[in-house]
Subunit: 217 residues, 2 copies
């Protein structure tokens, strides 16, 4: 009935049936609501500790209803991750275009990428990327492969910047290991950053740049 391809299918039209009123409910909005609440709960409590009933209830549905939109709990998790990667990649590309990336110095380019990454990671309502980073164990190998493609594109945008910094003597470590450790330093902030605390995302960005680079302009 459902094939594996369904997992990655972008949407599914509800079969026509009279809606209760005419305001919110209906069409793809319900699916988005499930996705959004799932992301929030998965992030807060973890995938295994979140029941599909919790998600249904948060979205104002009955317990079986999430399965109308997603064929399984795991497919829902994957959809959260994929949505996270797609929008993070979109955000990154937009930021690069807005700033005229090529015209910037390597240091400014890294700053842009780091600041943008913190936004995807820690910005209000951005629960998708943390879920995708910390719940890798709960998806299948083939789902991981599908995500790896998006991640490759995301990290690919960083590669020339890191190489330019390395060539300029600003980044002294091996580029590949440096990339892994830089993402570690940034991604780990999910564990300790408190939006109500004193430090802002700009502060984190300053600290990261100062930590990684030999000199800052």
């Amino acid at each position: 009935m459902h094939t594996a391809a369904d997992v990655a299918a972008p949407a599914k039209r509800p079969r026509g049936r009279p809606r209760k009123t005419v305001d919110e409910r209906d069409d793809g909005n319900r699916r988005r609501a499930v996705l959004r609440h799932a992301a929030r709960l998965f992030r807060r409590n973890g995938f295994d500790a979140t029941s599909t009933r919790d998600i249904a209830s948060a979205a104002g549905m009955q317990s079986g209803s999430p399965f109308y939109h997603f064929k399984s709990k795991q497919a829902l998790l994957f959809a959260v991750m994929e949505e996270g990667m797609r929008s993070a990649l979109q955000r990154q590309r937009d930021a690069m275009l807005d700033a005229g990336m090529e015209s910037l110095e390597p240091t400014a380019r890294l700053r842009l990428l780091v600041r943008n990454h913190f936004e995807s990671l820690l910005g209000a309502g951005n629960d998708y990327i943390p879920v995708m980073l910390y719940e890798q164990r709960s998806i299948t190998r083939s789902q991981r492969t599908a995500l790896a493609e998006l991640q490759g594109a995301y990290e690919g945008d960083w590669e020339p910047v890191l190489r330019a910094l390395h060539a300029a003597g600003q980044l002294r470590a091996d580029v590949k290991l440096a990339r892994l450790m830089i993402f570690g330093a940034l991604n780990w902030s999910v564990q300790w950053f408190d939006r109500r605390g004193e430090a802002t995302l700009d502060d984190l960005t300053d600290a990261a740049l100062a930590l990684f680079l030999a000199e800052t302009p």
Copy 2:
């Protein structure tokens, strides 16, 4: 029957009863076996995805037997984390003593701490610390507080080293944020490091030092 204090109790003598033979089984070794297999399974599959039956079976016991040694699955998780922190702290203190920490230059001191941390994180059979880092959501607030004390001691050993490096201009970022990001860079290696790969823990240490410090001697 069991009080909250039991959770942190270091051991528990089995009440005397004739042993089957005289070789392995008996006393605290069974408890250690449960702990060790729990750590391995928690690390590989996550806390929620590991059943107490899985652990019992790995340790060669019947399904209810882990509860003879630990009052609950959560108490077992906490015991894994506490054991991890205690032995990591012990290992760090030993390494500092062996090397005559005070006689070293700040850079060499950081190298020692980083190399040692990678060992606790990625060394063969060292499953306890990864579990403690990645399963924080599954313990209670009061258990987290108890662990925070040990973590404070562990990180406290790094503090003077980072401050000395900052004072010497070798570490340019704010010390507190630098510490958080450095631990992030190191701890994230649990996600990607492959012991069968090319890079050694010494390679990782070199890369980390080159990444964080403005110059290397």
